[in-house]
Structures are given as C-alpha cells and as structure tokens.
C-alpha cells in the first residue's frame, strides 16, 4: 500500500511538471499553428539556470525566478529570430526549431559540460513526512501544491481576463481575432514567451527529484511533451494537465514494474488516442 502511495505521489509530481512543460507547447500550437521542436530545451534551460543560481545564492526561490527569467528571455529571443520568419511555413518551422534545439542544447553542453551535474534538494524542502504509513517526500508535495497553484492562476487568467479570452478565441480562429481589431502578432509573442517561461518553471523543479540534471533531458522531455499534447488535445490547457497527470502516473507505475516498457507505453497511449479520438481527450482542433 505504501509503495502505491509513494508511486502515486511521485507520479503526480512528475505529471504536473510535464503539464507545465507541455501546456505552453499545446497552446502555442493551438493559437499560432507553430510546432515548436525547440520547446523541450526551455525546460532544460530552467533546470540549469535554477541549479546554477541555487548553487550561487543558496535561495531556491531566487533560483526558480532565475529559471523562469532565463526561459522567458530566451523564449523572447527565439520568437523574434526563429519563429517569426516561419509563421506560414510548416516544414520550415520544423527544421528551424530543430536547429534552434540543437544550437541551444550544444551551448548548454559547452557551458556546463555534456555530463550530468548535481542538483540537490533545497534544505527547507528536504525530508519526508508520514502519510498513511508511507514516507512521502516533502519536496514532491511541494511540487504538487505549487504546480496546482500555478495552474489555477493560469486558468483564472484564461477565463477571467480579456487576454485570456483572446487567447481562447484565437485558438479557435486567429484570423477573426485579427479582424476584430486585436494585434494578434503581439498576442502570439506574449503567449510564446509565457509558454517558454512555464516550461522553464517546470524545469526548475525537476532537478531535486533525480538529484541531478543533464542535457539529455531536453529530448526526453520534448518527446514526452509531444505525447502529452497529443493525448490532451492541442490547444487545451486543461487537456495538458489531465494528460500530463495520466502520463506521469502511468510512467511511474510502469517504471517500478518493468522500466524498459515506460517509453513504449507512452507511445501506445498516444497511438490509442490517435486512433480513437484524434483531437485528444479535450482538444478542439481537428486532427484529420
């Protein structure tokens, strides 16, 4: 029983971090039609920036802020230089964002080396707490609580603010939003930066769960991000949360039972969704 509880909590935590990474990808595609193959890299930027800042300052809060700032700043640069030229060019998008992925990944390897670096749990959040007889890591609980708070804030912004309405409207029909007098290009840029910032925020928290981080995370999480986006539905914020949790939980259970089956399971999940409901669990964009 306790194993199950531990696995569930861990799975929830990982799943929520996945959600943070993927929701940006999903909304960016839903709103702008851009498939950003560089998205996984922002997750890793957040991880590295925060680990480095934490080692420097000893404050996890500052480290997280640094991670978000780095992700958003590089996201802003990326939108201007890489994304804008290819808004109407799908094949160009794939190649250029992959190029950006490689460049940023290699830069990270240049600065911090290609091997893993240590990422310790901050002192305040160390230790375990006893729930129903199982030893649950406090850090994991922090991830769950914090991520849910972030999700709540974003969901409120999406539903209650005019900008949120514009984004939801734009996912349905960006041209109409333009006709109604909204500067959609500026909205696109803003959403892109928010998306990369959120991905980076997810990345700031991944380190202590494994004790270390490495450049391999970018492609691993990019792939997982795609899977979450497909399962949840492109353009759906809630969808990416649900899908993120499903994938996070499923992975954690499988890894405990038979580790090599983890990735194949994800791909099977994705294939099943594509066959049965191609728009994803909560998606509105057509897939066929």
């Amino acid at each position: 029983m306790d194993i199950f509880l531990i696995l569930t909590i861990n799975g929830l935590a990982t799943g929520l971090l996945l959600f943070m990474m993927a929701c940006g990808l999903s909304i960016i595609f839903g709103l702008m039609g851009i498939m950003n193959f560089a998205h996984g890299v922002f997750f890793v930027i957040g991880a590295y920036a925060s680990t480095w800042t934490y080692a420097l300052t000893g404050s996890f809060a500052v480290a997280m802020l640094a991670g978000i700032a780095a992700g958003a700043a590089i996201g802003w640069l990326t939108e201007i230089t890489i994304i804008r030229p290819v808004y109407k060019n799908p094949i160009g998008q794939i190649l250029i964002t992959l190029g950006a992925f490689i460049v940023i990944n290699e830069l990270i390897k240049m600065i911090w080396g290609p091997n893993v670096i240590a990422s310790p749990t901050p002192d305040l959040l160390q230790g375990e707490v006893n729930i129903l007889g199982a030893s649950i890591s406090i850090y994991r609980i922090f991830i769950i609580v914090f991520s849910c708070l972030v999700a709540l804030v974003v969901q409120l912004a999406l539903t209650k603010t005019r900008l949120g309405m514009i984004v939801r409207a734009g996912v349905e029909n960006a041209e109409m939003v333009n006709i109604l007098g909204v500067n959609v290009r500026r909205v696109f840029a803003l959403v892109f930066i928010l998306g990369t910032g959120l991905a980076a925020l997810g990345g700031t928290m991944i380190g202590p769960t494994m004790g270390q981080i490495g450049p391999f995370l970018s492609s691993q999480y990019l792939l997982l991000g795609f899977i979450v986006v497909v399962i949840g539905g492109m353009g759906s914020f809630i969808g990416s949360m649900v899908a993120g949790i499903i994938v996070g939980l499923a992975n954690n259970y499988i890894i405990w039972l038979y580790p090599p089956a983890a990735m194949p399971l994800n791909i099977i999940l994705m294939s099943v969704i594509l066959l049965v409901k191609p728009t994803g669990l909560m998606g509105i964009k057509e897939a066929v």
């Binding site: 799908p90 792939l223 194949p264 994705m270």
Partner: protein, 327 residues
C-alpha cells in the same frame, strides 16, 4: 517521354553520362579506401535523401521517422550476419526480410497516421523513431546497445572494390527507378496530391492509398540505402535510426532542392562532404568539439535564406538564361 535521340542532345544527359563513367572508373584512378568510402557514403546518403524526397518533396508527406527504414534494414543485415553467419544465402534472407519489414512498417504506421493532419504525422513518426532508437539501445543481446554491432558480410561483397561497386550500382538503380517512377501516371498523381489534396480527392483518387503507396516505395528505397550502409560499414549503432538521421535527409533535400530529382543527390554530396570536413576539423581544434552546433546553425540559416535550395537557384538561372537568349 523523350526519345533517346533527343535526350542525348540535352546537356544534362552528357553530364549524367560523364558522372556515370567517372563513378565506374574511379577505383582505377584512385583506389584509396578513403576516396572510395567517401564516394560510397555520398551515394548512400543520396539514395536515402532521394527516397525521403519522394515522400516529402513529391507527395508532400512530412515524416520524421524515415530513418527507421534505413536503420532497421541495416540492423537486420547486421543481426543476421552476426548470428547466423556471413553466407550469401543468409545475406539474401536478410535482404528479403529487410524489404518485407520496410513494406509492413510503411503500411502499418502509414495507415495509422497518414489520415491525420501533417503536424500529427510528424509527431507520430518522431515518436516511432524514438521508440526504435530506445529498442536498439536497450535490447543489448540482439543489437549490442550503445556499443553497436560489428558483423561481416559475405566475402563477395566484402572487399573495398566489391563494396564500392555494390553501393554505386544500387545508387544508379535507385535514381533511374525514381526517374521513371516520377514520370509515370502514379508519380504524376502523387505530385497532384502534393499540390492540392482536396482537388485530387475530388477527382476521384483515393488519396490515402496513394500516400500509402508512396510511403511503401520510399520505405523500400530507404531500405536499400540501409543495406548499402551495412555492406559498406559492417557496423551499426542506434543513432542511425534517430530523428537526426532523418533531418539529415531533409537538410540534403532542402539544400539541393525539394521536389526535384537531382536535388537530393546534390544536397547529399554537399552535406556529406561538409559533415566529414567538420568532423575532421573538430579533431584539430578542441574548441570545435561541439561541432553539431554548426549543423543546428545550418538548419536555421538555410531556412532563413534559401527556401528553394540549390536547384531553385539553378532553375532561376536557366530561366534568366533562356529569357536573355530570346532577346
């Protein structure tokens, strides 16, 4: 269809003839392993790029998992040669198995995913590629994992001349096949699908079936590239299955010119030579150890500056040349 006589008059025909002769006599001129290897590698890359171009440039289907055909064929050859022995019969068996797998894979994944919009297809093929890479990596008993798999090919293929000619013959065969295929009714229908799928469908063509056909044919051609690769290198590693390998073909196609026959071949030549030069440069300067970054920058620069590739530049030149002649 041009008659042989009129065809022989065009300058392109003489160039091709010259290239064929050059390829045929190269080993007599320079029999160094390095040169023959380089030429063979270019030819293999060209076969792979041409097969990719059939899907991407001519049918308009954009896959990120094309290397799966390439890599799994090479692995099948490798595994069978390694386990059962390097006899010609086993080699034949391996070849047949590789082709069958390519067709099945192409049809299966194609049927699952080709009905979806382009972006989903790209993601599904991406995931499938990763799946294969992980399998190759984790299934150590069969594939040797990250260390790769060493094997031998039958003796009549093993020598440097034999390997070279095998590859070159495959290359010429594939290019010639493409030339005829693209000119055929089927080929023209594929182009129509690329141009305007809705119209093609309205005209009564079963678009899905044609896309599946294109997928299968492209898969078989990529499979030949994989077989050639296995014969030349007698070694495989998981990275020949991954997305980077497919992107390499995409890059070659774009650089050379998508949707043309010569484009991928030209692109393959450039990119293979360039990659080799970079890798050797990296050994000299420790700074360039992260040379993949150059490729990343290359992807970006190519898209920003040269959407049409080298062939479009060539066609533009031709256009201006003929225009100026009219005056």
């Amino acid at each position: 269809m041009l008659t042989t006589k009129s065809w022989l008059k065009s300058p392109a025909a003489w160039l091709i003839l010259a290239a064929l002769i050059l390829l045929a006599v190269l080993p007599l001129v320079n029999s160094s392993r390095f040169v023959l290897n380089m030429a063979s590698s270019i030819a293999i890359a060209a076969i792979f790029a041409v097969s990719y171009n059939l899907l991407c440039g001519f049918t308009g289907v954009f896959s990120l998992g094309h290397a799966v055909f390439f890599g799994s064929s090479a692995y099948i050859i490798g595994i069978i040669m390694n386990r059962l022995g390097a006899s010609p019969w086993f080699f034949l068996l391996a070849t047949v198995l590789a082709i069958i797998l390519a067709v099945l894979l192409g049809l299966f994944v194609g049927y699952l995913a080709l009905r979806l919009k382009a972006i989903y297809y790209a993601m599904v093929t991406f995931a499938v590629a990763e799946l294969f890479v992980i399998t190759a990596d984790k299934w150590r008993e069969m594939t040797g994992g990250q260390d790769g798999l060493l094997f031998q090919v039958p003796s009549f293929l093993a020598g440097k001349f034999a390997a070279y000619y095998t590859v070159i013959i495959l290359f010429v065969a594939v290019v010639f096949f493409m030339y005829r295929f693209l000119d055929s009714p089927t080929g023209k229908i594929l182009v129509a699908i690329r141009e305007n799928e809705t119209r093609a469908s309205a005209l009564g063509f079963n678009v899905l079936r044609y896309k599946l056909l294109s997928n299968a044919v492209a898969g078989i051609l990529a499979c030949f590239a994989g077989i050639a690769y296995a014969v030349l290198n007698q070694f495989v590693m998981p990275n020949i299955l991954d997305v980077n390998q497919t992107i390499g073909a995409l890059l070659m196609t774009i650089v050379g010119g998508m949707g043309t026959l010569a484009g991928p071949v030209i692109g393959a030549t450039f990119i293979t030579l360039f990659g080799d030069w970079l890798a050797r440069l990296a050994k000299l300067h420790p700074l360039l150890e992260r040379w993949p970054i150059i490729f990343g920058l290359l992807y970006i620069i190519i898209i920003l500056t040269m959407p049409g590739g080298i062939m479009s530049g060539y066609y533009k030149l031709k256009f201006w040349w003929s225009r100026s002649k009219q005056k």
